[in-house]
Every structure is written in structure tokens, then in C-alpha cells.
Symmetry: C2
Subunit: 237 residues, 2 copies
Amino acid sequence: MPATDTPGGGKLPLSATKRTRLRRYRQFGQADRDSLYAVLNAGLVAHLGVITTGGWPMVVPTCYGYDPETLYLHGSVASQSLNTAGPVCVTITLADGLVLARSVFEHTINYRSAMIYGQPRQVTDPAERLAGLRIITEHVAPGQWDYARQPSRKDLAAVRLLALPLEEASVKIRTGPPADGDSPDAALGLWAGELPLAATWQQPVPDPALPPGTPIPAHIRSRAGTCAGRSPSRVVT
Amino acid sequence: MPATDTPGGGKLPLSATKRTRLRRYRQFGQADRDSLYAVLNAGLVAHLGVITTGGWPMVVPTCYGYDPETLYLHGSVASQSLNTAGPVCVTITLADGLVLARSVFEHTINYRSAMIYGQPRQVTDPAERLAGLRIITEHVAPGQWDYARQPSRKDLAAVRLLALPLEEASVKIRTGPPADGDSPDAALGLWAGELPLAATWQQPVPDPALPPGTPIPAHIRSRAGTCAGRSPSRVVT
């Protein structure tokens, strides 16, 4: 099921296909590329869904990075999933808080999520492997590509890297208060609102194996105290 | 592929099957039930992986709750996934921080994750629906079941609820510093360590539709400032 077989196909905006047409919560659909980049940029871990050779679904968490046209997924996950030659669905979700309504039934969460469908390919070209690894590294740990030792040829040979075209995707975002503010339940007099959730980078913890006094580089130190999942859109190219 | 067909089958400890045998990072495997409960307890959103009727994988984020034997998944996700009668894989992941090594190749993240495989069933019995909804609500928003208006018969009829046996699962946890502290790269003199990530509940935001002065109940107010994903194991029974 190559991605090019899907209807739609144009790269801008994201193609609307049978898979990405939102069946519920259509009001949250934001079928534009900037929304996709914003979710990708804010996320840290993707959930990679595959059909295994045994015929069952498997969902594996993994790190990722992206350029304007391609999602790169790190191969340090169960090799079983990466060997699967079939289509995949990659979902990135940020939970932004609870939506506390007057009725249990209207409770939900505020979130941002992106689902990307397609046929990934194993990246085998050494130059693209290096570029893909840089993209993933700079997404997860900005500044580390230039600071840490870059991959040797032996490192590169051991890396497993998947590339997935950013062609067939859907984005859903829910924000704001609960939906029952103008329902009969509003007369119950109960409190209702949001309980936001924020992920924050903490103070760096040195490796006990470090020689005492090894300075923490600024690009790591300056991240402490900042919110993960809230940075402005940034695409490594 | 009913869960009872899988080899192993004993409920304590978790069964080791072809699906849950860890192929990589075996050293992080913690095949005991308490580890599973700890990850389930700490998580907020699960990623539900299904094979759609069209034959492609789909990964949907959704809320959940659990009792000692069953994972309950909320149905407010694309009904396409819930209609699928096949096996599922549900993955819950908590990203606890970055592992910043001397070499790019050794970078990883600290995380806790649980993968649960099985054949879910739609919950149709009204009493079990009510119990399952309570379990999900109290997992996501403790205290809200008794505070908010509980589901009416009409509410219950509209709810879609999946139940998945907690029989076939694997848990992976990575903690601690990078792995290259005793490698030749240690001589590079670079800083290495962890950059922890913590999710914290923020101050409640009242629904603008609320009458002014509506008090925030203690069970919501007291959550602000506390860490999500860090609370001790708690199973609603």
C-alpha cells in the first residue's frame, strides 16, 4: 500500500484520504501542514503502529525527527516492527490537560495529536542515514549533534532508520472548556473547567562516571525549567 | 485470536508469549504485574493499535482505566477502530527524560512503557458499563465520579467501552545515566547525564460559563502543582 496509491496525493495541503478523513470530532480537524509541523515539533515520542508478520498490531514508542517532507524514526525499537514491510501509522500525542465537565459523560482531555499513514522505507544510503540521525538528534536534544561525538561508520552501520513521507496525515487539536456550559447540567452549580498539564525539563543530572567539575554546556543547562511541548515550530533542514 | 489461545496464560506473573518476549533491551524487561500496574497508574493516555477493516494499522490515543484484571478503554475515539473485531495492542508510554551521552549514537530516553496485547470485547452490560466508566473517570480525574453528575441511562447508551484482559503484557523501563561512561568516548571530556522531564498539573482554569465565585473543589485544587505520572500505584476496585 504505497503512499502514492492513496487518493489526494498533493503535498500542500495534506491529502484527505479514506484514512485521514476524520470520522468523529471533525470540528478539531486542522488539515493544514503548519498544524502538523506544530504537533511534530512539540512531541518527543511517537507511537509507531505496524502489522507484524504474525498478523497482529503492534504499537512501539520511538523517537523521531522530521524535515518538511519526511518523518524519520529511530530504529532502536523492537526490530520485529521495523522489519515489517507493510504500511504503518505513526501517532504523536500531547496531553495538554483535563477537561472537567459538570457531567461525567462530558469529561475529556485537551490534546494535540497527529496521525501519519504511509509506507516507510528503510534508510540505507549512508549520507541520508547521517542526515536522518542529525534530524532526530536535533529534534530530541537540540545542540547535541555538534556537541557530542558524531556517528562513526561503525555506528552508522548499526543504526536502523525509517523514513515516512509526510503526505497522508491528520491533525486533531482540542482546547478550551468543557462542552456542557450551556446544558441543563450548568444549573447543578458544580465547578467546571480545565486542569492543564505541562511537561517541564528539570535540572540536568550528571552521569556519576563524569570527572568532577565537568561543565554542563549551555544548550543543555538553558533547557532546564522550560516547557517541553510548547516551543514554537522549528523544522531542521 | 482470543487471549486465551496464547501460550503461558497464567495471570500471575504476566504470561510470556511470542508477542511479549522482549527481542531487544531485554535487560529492561520487568515481567511482573506490579510493574505493569505502576506504568498503568502513572499514564494518562494510551495508544490503541488496531488493524482496520481496510487492512492498515491505526494508532489512536485514548483515555483508559484499569482494575486488577482488565484494562478499560474509553470509546470517544474514531469508531472505526472500535468496530474492528480483531486483536489490539495498547501501549502506554511515559517519557521521563533524555539520556545525553558522549556520542550521538548512545543517546536515548529514559521511559516507562507497557504493551498489552489481546482481544478486546465491547462492554454492553449496563452495570459493567457504569463500573468501567467509573474506573476510567477515577483514573483520569480522581474524585470526579462522586462530584460530577453520574451518567444517565441515555449517557450510558451512547458510551462505547472496550475491555481488554490484563493477561498478555510486557513492561519496559529505562532509568539512569548513559551507557558510554566506561567507553573510550569518556576520554573526550564531554558532559553527559540525564535531562529529566516532569509533567505537572497546573492551576485549574474555570470554565468562562461558570457563575463567578463557584468554588473549586478540594480534589481538583489539591492536584495543582503535583507531578503527573509519579503517584504511587493505585488500583480502583
